[in-house]
Amino acid sequence: MALLTVQDLRTYFHTRNGVYRAVDGVSFSLDRGETLGIVGESGSGKSVTCYSMMGLIPQPPGRIESGTALFDGVDLLRCSPEQARGIRGKRISMIFQDPMTSLNPYLRVSEQLIEPLMIHEKITKDEAIKRGLAMLEAVGINDAARRIHYYPHEFSGGMRQRVMIAMALITKPELLIADEPTTALDVTVQAQILELIKRLQKELGMAVIFITHDLGVVSGLCDRVLVMYAGRVVESADTRTLFYHPRHPYTRALQRSIPGLQPKGSDLFTIPGLPPDVSKPIAGCAFSPRCEHAQDPCRQRDPALAELAPGHRQACLRVQAGELT
């Protein structure tokens, strides 16, 4: 049985300027121990999808309009606050993009690190500190016994992200949601953090949802990938299929616009125009105004995800009709 099943999730933001359809009908599932990448440009709804499951959407202006998110049989969108507290921070943990702002600057790392343990487990402070130390060592912080008593500003960016990871994993969660955890870091530090997440995932056997805009990060880390555009999933497949045989025009365009091995002097492939404004109703396929293959039906009919091959689903009408190869 899948660990997490999200069905038809819709999260809208009701603002004075209109209704922003940040997430508009997202469905996916995740098995135990699996790594799922969610890729998309800014504003595509990848973070809001995960924030909705974690109950981190400010309401109002946000509202979860429909959908279910079953985590091991419990609907995260409708469970009681007590149930949610038992799951969040214990069975599902999250790490955020900016390690500078997600640690409390007034508290020593030791206090923050053991907070999830003190809340979720019957444990004395001494024992919690002991487990905190072990966790800091596991994430590669040298001299942990001394540094556990430091304040966050005494750590570098990469070290703070390690502290965040230690804090997220200290309760041995079954699911880790990582929201662009390496975007703010240098490439050499990013490589360290990715290796660390990979290793700890194997050791703890947890599932990971990895949100990123960087296709390169996904390719080495994830088993399966969802590509999001304007609040919807446009393609989902296992990583190899998605990279070597992408079918949706947006996925293809995204891959072609990465500066890779094109000869110098040749122009990069670009997607014309801008991502759509999700505060206005979108007729038909959201990508159609920028798509080189768009035809009249694309601008009228709402495309739905359809299975092309087992495990490979995509939402382009023309691919589904067999008109595009």
Binding site: L194, E195, G216, R240, K264, L268, I271
Partner: protein, 326 residues
Amino acid sequence: MDDAILQLNDVRTHFPIQQGFLFRRQVGTVKAVDGVNLALKRGEVLGLVGESGCGKSTLARTIMQLVPTTGGTVVLEGRNLTACSVDEMTVVRRDLQMVFQDPYASLNPRMTVFAALAEPLLVHGVCKGDEVVARVTELMKTVGLAPRFMQKYPHEFSGGQRQRIAIARALALRPKIIIADEPVSALDVSIQAQILNLLSQLVRKMGLSLVFIAHDLSVVRHISDRVAVMYLGKIVELGPAADVIDHPQHPYTRALVSAIPTANPDAERSRQRIVLAGDPPSPINPPAGCAFHPRCPHAQEKCKVAFPPLVPSGSREVACIRLGEI
């Protein structure tokens, strides 16, 4: 070099660290740029890469003379900028313009596009009256913005469009050199490609020289003719972009290249990644000898003695004394 438009000779930019409230005293120095020799040719794109804190942005600001230089000379077409007065610099800056990383912060939110683009023209007195409108129209077309947006404010534009405005403003005075400090890092992949294409078209069409600072090596490889890799204020490898990035020689460049994730799952899973231990050391107290030796997998005792100079190695220059051995 005859065709060099800009020449940096042993440029050093140090910042004092001061402590104390009533009696401020200097307790140390940050050697942000420490002995850089570099020549930029006409019409060349020079990529400048390195981790955060390696001094690449300070080097850009030193070239622009936005920070005082501690030592060395910055020579633009025979004129030493470090000896220029403020008035002389105003004239020089026509030839030397900059594009910054964050297009949300580099445009004044209270100025329309027209006002932002007209300002340099009026300050330098290069256009009068109707000519200003004509020049602004021309500039907007050059960077791919419709001139009808002239009276709009920055908040009405997306990130990519704002970066186009920033580029148009840098082009306003027909500079010879543009220094772009991480111009695409804040943009999405699809928009990033548009801005990269625009920059390389401008270089080709206008014969500009471009110093392109970035931390993304695949972007740098695509746009640059030559690449300089910086580590703790010094250049450790310098050479043709494709050579340096496809066949790096300095151990630091090797690690940097191997750290970039590629959009190729099979290659990604099979390749041996050199994961550097630790963070970049602080420029306040750089390690003795080669600054990279504490993180270098090939370091030996002799690496701790003196900083290795850049020595020619084929088409490039590399600063590593163990180059022949590794």
